[in-house]
Symmetry: C2
Subunit: 396 residues, 2 copies
């Protein structure tokens, strides 16, 4: 594994010679971490586990400057920079990652990894292991033979990656939404390995309300006859169900400020085609926009991975026991970043998490952002919290 | 039509002899109103339109004491009382309808009617006309040949019913959710016929946000192969899709206070069957509860009626033009009853409606209720607004 560290460092240094703006925000390389064997929290062993990762900045001599970024439900390890100069957009948190930015690559070695059962199984820049992966020793994907995995499993595989880089303690762990669940889990289950934690737009458990909504997200896939109880590899895939599920996610992560804006609202999907004109094909613009978003996202996603992610999120309570006990185990100072417009993790749930973390004296700062995009503000409006992140990380 | 009035009055008087408690809260009779022909706002003619209705209280000599109750998306005209003494529960707003109650049947003639395309097409106590109705002159249901109908169409058919009873002006119109949409429409489109209006848990248009969520409600039906583009009568019906759609509605109408309560929360559906044990069949209690609710509601519902209702709601703007113009036409004093916990009609949208109604001087009182059930509070916690309703109706 030291070879990999050396390589990463060499690449980072080499890239740094292109100048600051091009260094980490310019070109990023996807790397693959392999675990020959991993045994899940549920006791099942998966062979040849691979996850993708990328990094920005340079690991220092005593390997004390690493910050781990954990990704959201539909996200990937591509948190910053571009793979090629011609990429349409950089990674999702590029606004806060780079030289002189809040997650300052002049100071920190920023590390981002794909989870197990990553949604974007067909994205060539994603490396993950899940139901769509070929089962070792068989000539076909696992399908639903793949074991149920949990947020703790995601964290355990990340921990192996982190340790393979010779890092015994992370300066910080941060992530948005499902990424925040992983951050809470890191801080609760491996407190000696986490210096600080920055959970963004999430509470620290899936409560009944979230469990139910996640089931609503999953329902369209299950209704698509092509899903066929998860047995669809090499056959017609449940694209319609997956697209409908992704349309629900897209809407739920949004806010009425966006939906009712000038470009959507009550506008028709097609000029001259009144939504009153027919039952299904005559649509409003927002219906078409969500359907198109769902379809586009379905093209790189896998339906079983979606369902496995739903299950992992539903099963989540930080620390794996009661929420109060799990949050008591967190010792690292917490910077909690949320939005009161969030429709996925309501303010009441977020506040309960904050109270439980603070209950035993753990320091917690709570920063609110608001960008008119609801839950999605944790990704697209994260720079609103930039100064507070920089200040929090600089604090002794 | 006078014959029907006489009959209704006779029944009411006859029932009144049983004593107050038994009069309207005791036994209610479903009646049927028939329009030989109705032409929709969209210009299509439907023959032999039938809707059910019921009433509580007695129409006075000058027919000035009628209050119309318009029902919600999944509701019916059964607003109060029981059909038989052995009925498990009375109508949905029984808490505020009856002798001495806020909608006082000692003073008012309370009238409630089923809408066109009522969801509960298979409920023997519902009379409605929609895609599941036999098309006159054909030997089969309309299916998607049934014309698109709007909230204004619902109101126009109600208006014919009201006029058939010799009523030229309603003392008030009130309804919850989709019932409130009808109340707004009455007050905007027929201002001279509406004395007062009490919209409950709704704003006066479907904005982009609501249009999109209604599409999420409908998606499961469209994904069920048995839906077959609406052509399923006499064949296997899209029960799974309809049940999944109704599960979404059930959740959306609720609140996290309910979902996270002692009986649901993170409880397992089946003792000893850990949700971590398998992908689909190992459920949390709240998932099973919603699935069961969806299934139960699907048994009396029709999938095409569901989709036609979705369309009617999506198309709604009070008055049929811009929201501001539609609300300007409302002259009747308004008692607006909403809940800040409502997840279907958010407070921002409700407040916009209130502002626009008041903009030209129309008196508006805004009462907030809160019963821990979100949108559903408009049905189950309506008695919280009881005194304000009584006071509003008594006001000169």
């Amino acid at each position: 594994m030291l070879k990999r560290v050396a390589l990463a460092t060499a690449i980072a240094v080499a890239l740094a010679t292109f100048g600051r703006a091009e260094a980490y925000d310019g070109l990023v390389e996807k790397k693959t971490f392999t675990l020959p064997s991993y045994t899940t929290v549920g006791g099942q062993t998966i062979k040849d586990v691979k996850i993708g990762w990328e990094s920005y900045g340079t690991l220092n001599a005593d390997r004390s400057n690493a910050i781990l970024i954990t990704h959201f439900f539909s996200g990937t390890s591509h948190a910053a920079g571009k793979y090629k100069a011609s990429d349409a957009a950089p990674g999702y948190w590029d606004a806060i990652i780079g030289p002189g930015k809040p997650l300052d690559t002049d100071k920190y070695f920023i590390l981002a990894s794909d989870t197990l059962v990553n949604l974007n199984a067909k994205d060539p820049n994603v490396v993950t292991t899940g139901p769509a992966s070929i089962e070792p020793g068989k000539n076909e994907p696992y399908g639903t033979r793949f074991p149920i995995v949990t947020i703790r499993d995601f964290v355990n595989v990340q921990k192996a990656l982190v340790e393979s880089l010779g890092i015994s303690r992370l300066a910080a762990v941060t992530g948005a939404s499902m990424g925040a669940l992983q951050a809470y889990e890191w801080a609760s289950s491996y407190p000696s390995m986490v210096g600080k934690v920055i959970p963004v737009i999430a509470s620290a458990e899936a409560d009944g309300w979230l469990i139910a909504w996640l089931d609503v997200w999953a329902a369209p896939i299950r209704l698509d006859p092509n899903w066929n109880n998860g047995d669809y590899y090499g056959k017609a895939e449940p694209v319609a169900g997956l697209a409908a599920s992704l349309a629900v996610v897209t809407l739920h992560a949004q806010h009425w400020t966006w939906a009712n804006g000038a470009t959507l609202g009550r506008k028709w999907a097609v000029d001259g085609k009144d939504p009153a004109g027919c039952l299904v094909e005559c649509k409003f613009a927002i219906e078409a926009a969500l359907a198109n978003a769902g379809k586009a996202r379905a093209a790189t996603s896998d339906a079983n991975h979606f369902l496995y992610l739903i299950k992992a999120n539903q099963l989540f309570v930080a620390g794996g026991g009661s929420l109060a006990e799990g949050l008591k185990k967190i010792d690292a100072p917490v910077l909690l970043i949320t939005s009161d417009d969030d429709q996925v993790f309501p303010t009441d749930a977020v506040n309960q998490t904050a109270q439980l973390i603070k209950a035993d004296g753990t320091p917690l700062d709570h920063v609110k952002i608001r960008g008119g995009r609801g839950h999605l503000d944790g990704v697209v409006a994260i720079s609103q919290a930039g100064e507070r992140i920089a200040e929090f990380l600089a604090r002794k």
